[in-house]
Symmetry: C2
Subunit: 102 residues, 2 copies
């Protein structure tokens, strides 16, 4: 159920870059924005989407806010994709078997 939000969140290229930076190391917003070709508010908005999808958590550190990747939502997405993958493999195997019969 939640994996759909994670999928949608990671579908945007810029937002995926934001997430990958957070993944590499917990960072404040300003630092993330400094390495990207978009403004800081844009990064803030992306982080909100990532947070709503459960992919990211927020830690207030004084006036800064560290964003940290959350493995759980990513794990659910992983499981969903893997289930689809297995289903595709099974379907392919079944089709090959049908082919063999002839």
């Amino acid at each position: 159920m939640t994996y759909q939000m994670a999928l949608a969140a990671l579908s945007d290229p810029t937002r995926r870059q934001v997430f990958e930076r957070v993944l590499a190391a917990p960072q404040p917003v300003g630092l993330i924005a400094a390495g990207l070709p978009v403004s800081r508010p844009a990064v803030s908005q992306h982080l909100r989407v990532l947070k709503e999808a459960g992919l990211v958590d927020e830690r207030r550190r004084g006036t800064r806010r560290l964003y940290v990747a959350n493995p759980q939502a990513l794990g659910e997405l992983r499981a969903a994709i893997e289930a689809m993958w297995r289903e595709a493999l099974a379907g392919m195997a079944a089709r090959i078997d049908e082919e063999m019969e002839r």
Copy 2:
């Protein structure tokens, strides 16, 4: 590299439904559209996007076209998501270790 297109392709809810139907069994366009609240051309367009992302293959069967899920693109997406997942887990473990030191 291709996993980004797969990610974008699966981010749309309707398109994900289309893909899951194809995943369950190879089907012609009309049959897919019959079970969804959108028109047949819309399904055709979704299938084109899925095809460009490598998630789906096309088999012409006379006047019909069977769409079949392709495990490969799904496998690449799976690998990419799994890599991110592991990275998130590693980061979390490292943070817990730091916590222990204090």
